[in-house]
Protein backbone atom coordinates (compact mmCIF):
# COMPACT_ATOMS: atom_id res chain seq x y z
CA UNK A 1 0.00 0.00 0.00
CA UNK A 2 1.14 3.47 -0.80
CA UNK A 3 2.14 5.54 2.17
CA UNK A 4 -0.55 7.69 3.67
CA UNK A 5 -1.04 10.94 1.75
CA UNK A 6 0.08 14.08 3.52
CA UNK A 7 -3.33 15.69 3.16
CA UNK A 8 -4.88 12.78 5.03
CA UNK A 9 -2.34 12.98 7.83
CA UNK A 10 -3.06 16.71 8.09
CA UNK A 11 -6.77 15.94 8.14
CA UNK A 12 -6.26 13.35 10.90
CA UNK A 13 -4.53 15.94 13.04
CA UNK A 14 -7.10 18.61 12.25
CA UNK A 15 -9.93 16.22 13.14
CA UNK A 16 -8.33 15.43 16.49
CA UNK A 17 -7.80 19.12 17.30
CA UNK A 18 -11.37 19.96 16.33
CA UNK A 19 -12.68 17.12 18.47
CA UNK A 20 -10.72 18.50 21.41
CA UNK A 21 -11.88 22.07 20.86
CA UNK A 22 -15.52 21.14 20.37
CA UNK A 23 -15.38 19.02 23.54
CA UNK A 24 -13.99 22.04 25.39
CA UNK A 25 -16.74 24.25 23.96
CA UNK A 26 -19.46 21.76 24.83
CA UNK A 27 -18.21 20.81 28.28
CA UNK A 28 -16.71 24.05 29.61
CA UNK A 29 -17.37 27.05 27.41
CA UNK A 30 -21.11 26.71 26.87
CA UNK A 31 -23.24 27.91 29.79
CA UNK A 32 -25.12 25.40 31.89
CA UNK A 33 -28.74 25.23 30.86
CA UNK A 34 -31.07 26.46 33.61
CA UNK A 35 -33.71 23.74 33.87
CA UNK A 36 -31.88 20.63 32.69
CA UNK A 37 -28.49 21.27 34.25
CA UNK A 38 -25.28 19.64 33.10
CA UNK A 39 -26.93 16.86 31.15
CA UNK A 40 -27.98 19.37 28.51
CA UNK A 41 -24.34 19.42 27.37
CA UNK A 42 -24.94 16.02 25.82
CA UNK A 43 -27.01 17.85 23.22
CA UNK A 44 -23.96 19.18 21.35
CA UNK A 45 -22.47 15.78 20.64
CA UNK A 46 -25.86 14.14 20.29
CA UNK A 47 -26.82 16.33 17.37
CA UNK A 48 -23.32 16.34 15.89
CA UNK A 49 -23.07 12.52 15.88
CA UNK A 50 -26.58 12.29 14.45
CA UNK A 51 -25.45 14.65 11.73
CA UNK A 52 -22.49 12.39 10.93
CA UNK A 53 -24.85 9.41 10.88
CA UNK A 54 -27.09 11.26 8.42
CA UNK A 55 -24.12 12.16 6.21
CA UNK A 56 -23.10 8.51 6.16
CA UNK A 57 -26.66 7.41 5.43
CA UNK A 58 -26.96 9.79 2.47
CA UNK A 59 -23.48 8.91 1.20
CA UNK A 60 -24.37 5.20 1.37
CA UNK A 61 -27.50 5.65 -0.74
CA UNK A 62 -25.74 7.80 -3.32
CA UNK A 63 -22.71 5.52 -3.63
CA UNK A 64 -25.05 2.53 -3.95
CA UNK A 65 -26.75 4.16 -6.94
CA UNK A 66 -23.42 5.16 -8.48
CA UNK A 67 -22.15 1.62 -8.07
CA UNK A 68 -25.17 0.12 -9.81
CA UNK A 69 -24.72 2.55 -12.69
CA UNK A 70 -20.93 2.43 -13.09
CA UNK A 71 -20.24 -1.09 -11.72
CA UNK A 72 -16.95 0.18 -10.39
CA UNK A 73 -15.99 -1.64 -7.16
CA UNK A 74 -14.48 1.58 -5.89
CA UNK A 75 -18.01 2.80 -5.16
CA UNK A 76 -18.71 -0.37 -3.23
CA UNK A 77 -15.86 0.52 -0.91
CA UNK A 78 -17.29 4.03 -0.52
CA UNK A 79 -20.65 2.51 0.34
CA UNK A 80 -19.24 0.13 2.96
CA UNK A 81 -17.29 3.00 4.49
CA UNK A 82 -20.36 5.21 4.74
CA UNK A 83 -22.53 2.45 6.19
CA UNK A 84 -19.93 1.53 8.79
CA UNK A 85 -19.35 5.12 9.93
CA UNK A 86 -23.07 5.80 9.99
CA UNK A 87 -23.58 2.65 12.07
CA UNK A 88 -21.02 3.74 14.65
CA UNK A 89 -22.23 7.32 14.90
CA UNK A 90 -25.93 6.57 15.02
CA UNK A 91 -25.11 4.17 17.82
CA UNK A 92 -23.43 6.98 19.75
CA UNK A 93 -26.40 9.25 19.00
CA UNK A 94 -28.88 6.73 20.35
CA UNK A 95 -26.89 6.04 23.50
CA UNK A 96 -26.35 9.75 24.17
CA UNK A 97 -30.04 10.45 23.55
CA UNK A 98 -31.01 7.67 25.90
CA UNK A 99 -28.78 8.98 28.67
CA UNK A 100 -30.14 12.48 28.19
CA UNK A 101 -33.72 11.23 28.17
CA UNK A 102 -33.35 9.42 31.52
CA UNK A 103 -33.36 12.58 33.70
CA UNK A 104 -35.38 14.75 31.28
CA UNK A 105 -38.12 12.45 30.02
CA UNK A 106 -37.74 10.18 33.03
CA UNK A 107 -37.22 7.16 30.80
CA UNK A 108 -34.36 5.61 28.89
CA UNK A 109 -36.46 4.97 25.88
CA UNK A 110 -39.58 6.09 24.08
CA UNK A 111 -40.87 5.00 20.70
CA UNK A 112 -40.45 8.43 19.28
CA UNK A 113 -40.06 8.83 15.47
CA UNK A 114 -36.43 9.87 15.57
CA UNK A 115 -35.37 7.26 18.11
CA UNK A 116 -37.23 4.49 16.36
CA UNK A 117 -36.03 5.51 12.91
CA UNK A 118 -32.43 5.68 14.08
CA UNK A 119 -32.79 2.23 15.61
CA UNK A 120 -34.38 0.80 12.47
CA UNK A 121 -31.53 2.29 10.46
CA UNK A 122 -29.06 0.52 12.74
CA UNK A 123 -30.90 -2.76 12.23
CA UNK A 124 -30.82 -2.24 8.46
CA UNK A 125 -27.08 -1.63 8.65
CA UNK A 126 -26.56 -4.81 10.69
CA UNK A 127 -28.64 -6.74 8.16
CA UNK A 128 -26.51 -5.16 5.44
CA UNK A 129 -23.30 -6.48 6.94
CA UNK A 130 -24.83 -9.91 7.55
CA UNK A 131 -25.93 -10.02 3.92
CA UNK A 132 -22.46 -9.13 2.72
CA UNK A 133 -20.90 -11.71 4.98
CA UNK A 134 -22.94 -14.45 3.37
CA UNK A 135 -21.71 -13.76 -0.17
CA UNK A 136 -18.27 -14.74 -1.41
CA UNK A 137 -18.30 -13.37 -4.93
CA UNK A 138 -17.14 -9.71 -4.63
CA UNK A 139 -19.21 -8.50 -7.56
CA UNK A 140 -22.42 -10.06 -6.30
CA UNK A 141 -21.66 -8.87 -2.79
CA UNK A 142 -21.33 -5.34 -4.08
CA UNK A 143 -24.49 -5.56 -6.18
CA UNK A 144 -26.62 -6.94 -3.36
CA UNK A 145 -25.15 -4.47 -0.90
CA UNK A 146 -25.97 -1.59 -3.20
CA UNK A 147 -29.52 -2.82 -3.74
CA UNK A 148 -30.09 -3.23 -0.04
CA UNK A 149 -28.76 0.23 0.82
CA UNK A 150 -31.00 1.60 -1.89
CA UNK A 151 -34.04 -0.15 -0.41
CA UNK A 152 -32.99 1.06 3.03
CA UNK A 153 -32.53 4.64 1.98
CA UNK A 154 -36.01 4.67 0.47
CA UNK A 155 -37.73 2.86 3.34
CA UNK A 156 -36.14 4.76 6.23
CA UNK A 157 -37.71 8.15 5.35
CA UNK A 158 -41.07 6.40 4.91
CA UNK A 159 -40.61 4.75 8.29
CA UNK A 160 -39.88 8.15 9.80
CA UNK A 161 -43.00 9.67 8.27
CA UNK A 162 -45.19 6.78 9.32
CA UNK A 163 -44.01 6.92 12.92
CA UNK A 164 -44.36 10.67 12.84
CA UNK A 165 -48.07 10.26 12.23
CA UNK A 166 -48.05 9.29 15.87
CA UNK A 167 -47.49 12.03 18.40
CA UNK A 168 -43.88 12.94 19.15
CA UNK A 169 -42.22 14.21 22.31
CA UNK A 170 -38.79 14.71 20.77
CA UNK A 171 -37.78 18.39 21.08
CA UNK A 172 -37.04 20.39 17.96
CA UNK A 173 -34.40 22.87 19.03
CA UNK A 174 -33.99 24.38 15.59
CA UNK A 175 -37.12 25.19 13.63
CA UNK A 176 -40.68 24.95 14.80
CA UNK A 177 -41.38 23.26 18.07
CA UNK A 178 -44.32 20.95 18.39
CA UNK A 179 -46.56 21.57 21.38
CA UNK A 180 -46.02 18.14 22.96
CA UNK A 181 -42.22 18.24 22.85
CA UNK A 182 -40.53 18.03 26.23
CA UNK A 183 -37.04 19.15 27.04
CA UNK A 184 -36.71 21.88 24.46
CA UNK A 185 -34.82 25.05 25.28
CA UNK A 186 -33.69 28.28 23.71
CA UNK A 187 -30.03 28.48 22.83
CA UNK A 188 -27.96 31.42 23.99
CA UNK A 189 -25.37 32.76 21.57
CA UNK A 190 -22.57 30.87 23.36
CA UNK A 191 -24.57 27.68 23.12
CA UNK A 192 -25.19 28.31 19.46
CA UNK A 193 -21.48 28.83 18.88
CA UNK A 194 -20.60 25.55 20.62
CA UNK A 195 -23.36 23.81 18.70
CA UNK A 196 -22.34 24.95 15.24
CA UNK A 197 -18.68 24.43 16.02
CA UNK A 198 -19.46 20.83 16.97
CA UNK A 199 -21.42 20.34 13.75
CA UNK A 200 -18.56 21.63 11.60
CA UNK A 201 -15.95 19.67 13.55
CA UNK A 202 -17.87 16.46 13.22
CA UNK A 203 -18.31 17.05 9.50
CA UNK A 204 -14.53 17.16 9.22
CA UNK A 205 -14.18 14.14 11.49
CA UNK A 206 -16.61 12.37 9.19
CA UNK A 207 -14.58 13.23 6.10
CA UNK A 208 -11.40 12.08 7.82
CA UNK A 209 -12.84 8.74 8.97
CA UNK A 210 -14.53 8.27 5.62
CA UNK A 211 -11.28 8.71 3.73
CA UNK A 212 -9.40 6.38 6.10
CA UNK A 213 -12.11 3.74 5.86
CA UNK A 214 -12.16 3.87 2.05
CA UNK A 215 -8.38 3.38 2.01
CA UNK A 216 -8.80 0.43 4.37
CA UNK A 217 -11.34 -1.07 1.97
CA UNK A 218 -8.97 -0.60 -0.95
CA UNK A 219 -6.20 -2.32 1.00
CA UNK A 220 -8.51 -5.20 1.93
CA UNK A 221 -9.48 -5.68 -1.72
CA UNK A 222 -5.84 -5.65 -2.74
CA UNK A 223 -4.99 -8.31 -0.15
CA UNK A 224 -7.92 -10.45 -1.25
CA UNK A 225 -6.83 -10.23 -4.88
CA UNK A 226 -3.26 -11.13 -4.05
CA UNK A 227 -4.46 -14.02 -1.91
CA UNK A 228 -6.35 -15.45 -4.88
CA UNK A 229 -3.30 -15.00 -7.08
CA UNK A 230 -0.96 -16.73 -4.60
CA UNK A 231 -3.31 -19.64 -4.02
CA UNK A 232 -3.52 -20.48 -7.71
Amino acid sequence: MKTKPRTLIALDILALILLGVSSYLALVFAPTEATMGQVQRIFYFHVATAWVGMLGFIAAGISGIIFLVTRNLKWDRVEVASVEISLVFFFITIVLGSIWARPIWNTWWTWDPRLTTATITELIYIAYFMLRQGIEDPDRRARFGAIYTLIGSVSVPITFMSIRLYRTIHPVVIGTQSAEAQGGFNMTSDMRFAFFFALISFTIIFVDLFWNRIRLGALADKVELLKLKVMQ
Binding site: I124, A127, M130, F144, I147, S155, S162
Partner: protein
Amino acid sequence: MAEQSITSKPQSLKSSYWKAISAIVWKDLVAELRSRESISAMLVFSLLVILIFNFALELDIGTRRTVTAGVLWSTFAFAGTLGLNRSMAVEKERDCLDGLLLSPVDRSAIYFGKAISNLTFMLIMEVIVLPIYSVLYNINLFNPGLLLVILLGSIGYTAVGTLLASMAVQTRTRDLMLPILLFPVVLPILIAAVKASSGFLSGANINDIFPWLRLLIAYDVIFIALAFMVFDYVVEE
Protein backbone atom coordinates in the same frame (compact mmCIF):
# COMPACT_ATOMS: atom_id res chain seq x y z
CA MET B 1 -33.75 -4.27 -23.63
CA ALA B 2 -34.55 -0.62 -24.25
CA GLU B 3 -33.06 -0.96 -27.72
CA GLN B 4 -35.07 -4.05 -28.39
CA SER B 5 -38.33 -2.34 -27.70
CA ILE B 6 -37.44 0.36 -30.17
CA THR B 7 -36.28 -1.88 -33.00
CA SER B 8 -38.78 -4.73 -32.86
CA LYS B 9 -42.52 -4.45 -32.98
CA PRO B 10 -43.54 -3.10 -29.61
CA GLN B 11 -46.91 -4.84 -29.69
CA SER B 12 -45.55 -8.39 -29.87
CA LEU B 13 -42.89 -7.61 -27.29
CA LYS B 14 -45.47 -6.32 -24.91
CA SER B 15 -47.63 -9.39 -25.32
CA SER B 16 -44.64 -11.69 -24.85
CA TYR B 17 -43.84 -9.83 -21.66
CA TRP B 18 -47.31 -10.50 -20.30
CA LYS B 19 -47.13 -14.05 -21.55
CA ALA B 20 -43.88 -14.57 -19.64
CA ILE B 21 -45.38 -13.20 -16.44
CA SER B 22 -48.51 -15.30 -16.70
CA ALA B 23 -46.46 -18.39 -17.59
CA ILE B 24 -44.44 -18.02 -14.39
CA VAL B 25 -47.52 -17.38 -12.29
CA TRP B 26 -49.28 -20.34 -13.88
CA LYS B 27 -46.28 -22.61 -13.33
CA ASP B 28 -46.14 -21.67 -9.64
CA LEU B 29 -49.86 -22.06 -9.13
CA VAL B 30 -49.97 -25.48 -10.80
CA ALA B 31 -46.96 -26.66 -8.82
CA GLU B 32 -48.55 -25.40 -5.62
CA LEU B 33 -51.87 -27.03 -6.49
CA ARG B 34 -50.05 -30.35 -6.83
CA SER B 35 -47.81 -30.19 -3.78
CA ARG B 36 -49.71 -27.73 -1.56
CA GLU B 37 -46.43 -27.27 0.27
CA SER B 38 -46.24 -23.51 0.64
CA ILE B 39 -49.80 -22.61 1.44
CA SER B 40 -50.34 -25.45 3.89
CA ALA B 41 -47.11 -24.58 5.70
CA MET B 42 -48.05 -20.90 5.83
CA LEU B 43 -51.53 -21.75 7.09
CA VAL B 44 -50.45 -24.11 9.83
CA PHE B 45 -47.74 -21.70 10.85
CA SER B 46 -50.15 -18.76 11.02
CA LEU B 47 -52.60 -20.75 13.14
CA LEU B 48 -49.75 -21.60 15.48
CA VAL B 49 -48.77 -17.94 15.69
CA ILE B 50 -52.35 -17.02 16.58
CA LEU B 51 -52.35 -19.78 19.19
CA ILE B 52 -49.15 -18.40 20.69
CA PHE B 53 -50.55 -14.88 20.73
CA ASN B 54 -53.69 -16.18 22.38
CA PHE B 55 -51.77 -17.38 25.40
CA ALA B 56 -49.04 -14.76 25.32
CA LEU B 57 -51.49 -11.85 25.30
CA GLU B 58 -54.50 -13.40 27.03
CA LEU B 59 -56.88 -12.36 24.28
CA ASP B 60 -59.93 -11.65 26.38
CA ILE B 61 -62.76 -9.52 25.04
CA GLY B 62 -61.24 -6.25 26.18
CA THR B 63 -57.79 -6.83 24.69
CA ARG B 64 -59.15 -8.39 21.52
CA ARG B 65 -60.61 -5.09 20.45
CA THR B 66 -57.31 -3.29 20.55
CA VAL B 67 -54.86 -5.97 19.47
CA THR B 68 -56.68 -7.85 16.71
CA ALA B 69 -55.11 -5.78 13.94
CA GLY B 70 -51.66 -6.21 15.47
CA VAL B 71 -52.06 -9.97 15.94
CA LEU B 72 -53.30 -10.40 12.38
CA TRP B 73 -50.48 -8.43 10.81
CA SER B 74 -47.77 -10.06 12.90
CA THR B 75 -49.19 -13.41 11.84
CA PHE B 76 -49.21 -12.42 8.17
CA ALA B 77 -45.70 -11.01 8.36
CA PHE B 78 -44.24 -14.12 10.00
CA ALA B 79 -46.12 -16.61 7.84
CA GLY B 80 -45.34 -14.56 4.73
CA THR B 81 -41.60 -15.15 5.07
CA LEU B 82 -42.18 -18.90 4.88
CA GLY B 83 -43.91 -18.59 1.52
CA LEU B 84 -41.39 -16.11 0.13
CA ASN B 85 -38.44 -18.25 1.14
CA ARG B 86 -40.02 -21.38 -0.23
CA SER B 87 -40.89 -19.86 -3.58
CA MET B 88 -37.34 -18.73 -4.27
CA ALA B 89 -35.64 -21.74 -2.67
CA VAL B 90 -37.55 -24.08 -5.00
CA GLU B 91 -36.24 -22.22 -8.03
CA LYS B 92 -32.73 -22.35 -6.65
CA GLU B 93 -32.80 -26.02 -5.62
CA ARG B 94 -33.98 -27.34 -8.96
CA ASP B 95 -31.85 -24.82 -10.87
CA CYS B 96 -35.04 -23.43 -12.35
CA LEU B 97 -33.78 -19.91 -11.88
CA ASP B 98 -31.03 -20.48 -14.43
CA GLY B 99 -33.57 -21.88 -16.84
CA LEU B 100 -35.78 -18.86 -16.35
CA LEU B 101 -32.83 -16.56 -16.85
CA LEU B 102 -31.85 -18.29 -20.08
CA SER B 103 -35.31 -17.80 -21.52
CA PRO B 104 -35.50 -14.78 -23.81
CA VAL B 105 -37.73 -12.65 -21.61
CA ASP B 106 -37.06 -9.44 -19.79
CA ARG B 107 -35.73 -10.22 -16.32
CA SER B 108 -38.32 -8.00 -14.69
CA ALA B 109 -41.00 -10.33 -16.08
CA ILE B 110 -39.52 -13.02 -13.83
CA TYR B 111 -39.76 -10.65 -10.88
CA PHE B 112 -43.38 -9.76 -11.57
CA GLY B 113 -44.27 -13.39 -12.16
CA LYS B 114 -42.78 -14.46 -8.86
CA ALA B 115 -44.22 -11.47 -7.01
CA ILE B 116 -47.72 -12.14 -8.32
CA SER B 117 -47.61 -15.80 -7.39
CA ASN B 118 -46.24 -14.93 -3.96
CA LEU B 119 -49.02 -12.38 -3.54
CA THR B 120 -51.58 -14.97 -4.55
CA PHE B 121 -50.31 -17.48 -1.97
CA MET B 122 -50.29 -14.82 0.68
CA LEU B 123 -53.83 -13.67 -0.12
CA ILE B 124 -55.09 -17.27 -0.10
CA MET B 125 -53.50 -17.77 3.32
CA GLU B 126 -55.04 -14.54 4.59
CA VAL B 127 -58.47 -15.35 3.19
CA ILE B 128 -58.42 -18.63 5.10
CA VAL B 129 -57.00 -17.16 8.31
CA LEU B 130 -59.55 -14.33 8.54
CA PRO B 131 -62.71 -16.47 8.96
CA ILE B 132 -60.89 -18.81 11.34
CA TYR B 133 -59.88 -15.82 13.44
CA SER B 134 -63.45 -14.50 13.26
CA VAL B 135 -64.83 -17.79 14.53
CA LEU B 136 -62.22 -18.23 17.23
CA TYR B 137 -62.65 -14.78 18.69
CA ASN B 138 -66.17 -13.96 17.66
CA ILE B 139 -65.15 -10.82 15.82
CA ASN B 140 -66.58 -9.89 12.46
CA LEU B 141 -63.62 -9.35 10.17
CA PHE B 142 -65.61 -9.09 6.96
CA ASN B 143 -65.18 -5.43 6.54
CA PRO B 144 -64.48 -4.18 2.99
CA GLY B 145 -62.09 -1.57 4.35
CA LEU B 146 -60.08 -4.22 6.19
CA LEU B 147 -59.93 -6.35 3.05
CA LEU B 148 -58.63 -3.37 1.10
CA VAL B 149 -55.93 -2.77 3.73
CA ILE B 150 -54.95 -6.44 3.62
CA LEU B 151 -54.68 -6.28 -0.16
CA LEU B 152 -52.59 -3.10 -0.15
CA GLY B 153 -50.38 -4.30 2.69
CA SER B 154 -49.79 -7.68 1.08
CA ILE B 155 -48.86 -6.05 -2.24
CA GLY B 156 -46.15 -3.97 -0.60
CA TYR B 157 -44.98 -6.85 1.56
CA THR B 158 -44.58 -9.25 -1.36
CA ALA B 159 -43.12 -6.55 -3.65
CA VAL B 160 -40.18 -6.06 -1.28
CA GLY B 161 -40.23 -9.63 -0.04
CA THR B 162 -39.85 -11.20 -3.49
CA LEU B 163 -36.90 -8.96 -4.28
CA LEU B 164 -35.17 -9.66 -0.98
CA ALA B 165 -35.96 -13.39 -1.07
CA SER B 166 -34.32 -13.67 -4.47
CA MET B 167 -31.24 -12.06 -2.94
CA ALA B 168 -31.38 -14.13 0.25
CA VAL B 169 -31.40 -17.49 -1.53
CA GLN B 170 -28.14 -16.56 -3.22
CA THR B 171 -26.31 -16.09 0.09
CA ARG B 172 -24.57 -18.71 2.19
CA THR B 173 -27.11 -18.47 5.00
CA ARG B 174 -30.04 -18.70 2.55
CA ASP B 175 -33.47 -18.58 4.19
CA LEU B 176 -32.01 -17.39 7.47
CA MET B 177 -31.36 -14.00 5.89
CA LEU B 178 -34.84 -13.14 4.66
CA PRO B 179 -36.59 -12.01 7.85
CA ILE B 180 -33.54 -10.04 8.94
CA LEU B 181 -33.41 -8.23 5.61
CA LEU B 182 -37.15 -7.87 5.20
CA PHE B 183 -38.60 -6.80 8.54
CA PRO B 184 -36.69 -3.54 9.04
CA VAL B 185 -37.65 -2.32 5.56
CA VAL B 186 -41.33 -3.37 5.61
CA LEU B 187 -41.90 -1.71 8.95
CA PRO B 188 -43.80 1.21 7.35
CA ILE B 189 -46.18 -1.30 5.76
CA LEU B 190 -46.81 -2.99 9.07
CA ILE B 191 -47.31 0.28 10.95
CA ALA B 192 -49.69 1.68 8.36
CA ALA B 193 -51.54 -1.60 7.90
CA VAL B 194 -52.04 -2.13 11.63
CA LYS B 195 -53.23 1.45 12.09
CA ALA B 196 -55.59 1.33 9.12
CA SER B 197 -56.92 -2.12 10.03
CA SER B 198 -57.66 -1.21 13.61
CA GLY B 199 -59.22 2.00 12.35
CA PHE B 200 -61.61 0.07 10.14
CA LEU B 201 -62.32 -2.51 12.84
CA SER B 202 -63.17 0.11 15.44
CA GLY B 203 -65.25 2.05 12.94
CA ALA B 204 -63.08 5.14 13.05
CA ASN B 205 -63.67 8.17 10.87
CA ILE B 206 -62.44 7.63 7.31
CA ASN B 207 -60.49 10.88 7.54
CA ASP B 208 -58.35 9.37 10.28
CA ILE B 209 -57.70 6.22 8.28
CA PHE B 210 -57.02 7.93 4.98
CA PRO B 211 -53.42 9.04 5.71
CA TRP B 212 -52.50 5.41 6.44
CA LEU B 213 -54.10 4.19 3.23
CA ARG B 214 -52.22 6.84 1.31
CA LEU B 215 -49.00 5.73 2.95
CA LEU B 216 -49.68 2.11 1.98
CA ILE B 217 -50.37 3.05 -1.64
CA ALA B 218 -47.27 5.25 -1.81
CA TYR B 219 -45.12 2.47 -0.39
CA ASP B 220 -46.53 -0.07 -2.85
CA VAL B 221 -45.93 2.17 -5.86
CA ILE B 222 -42.43 3.19 -4.80
CA PHE B 223 -41.23 -0.31 -4.04
CA ILE B 224 -42.73 -1.94 -7.10
CA ALA B 225 -40.95 0.68 -9.20
CA LEU B 226 -37.70 0.22 -7.27
CA ALA B 227 -37.81 -3.57 -7.55
CA PHE B 228 -38.56 -3.28 -11.26
CA MET B 229 -35.45 -1.14 -11.68
CA VAL B 230 -33.01 -3.22 -9.63
CA PHE B 231 -34.16 -6.80 -10.22
CA ASP B 232 -31.81 -7.15 -13.20
CA TYR B 233 -28.88 -6.74 -10.82
CA VAL B 234 -30.16 -9.45 -8.49
CA VAL B 235 -30.30 -12.26 -11.02
CA GLU B 236 -27.35 -11.27 -13.17
CA GLU B 237 -24.60 -13.86 -13.42
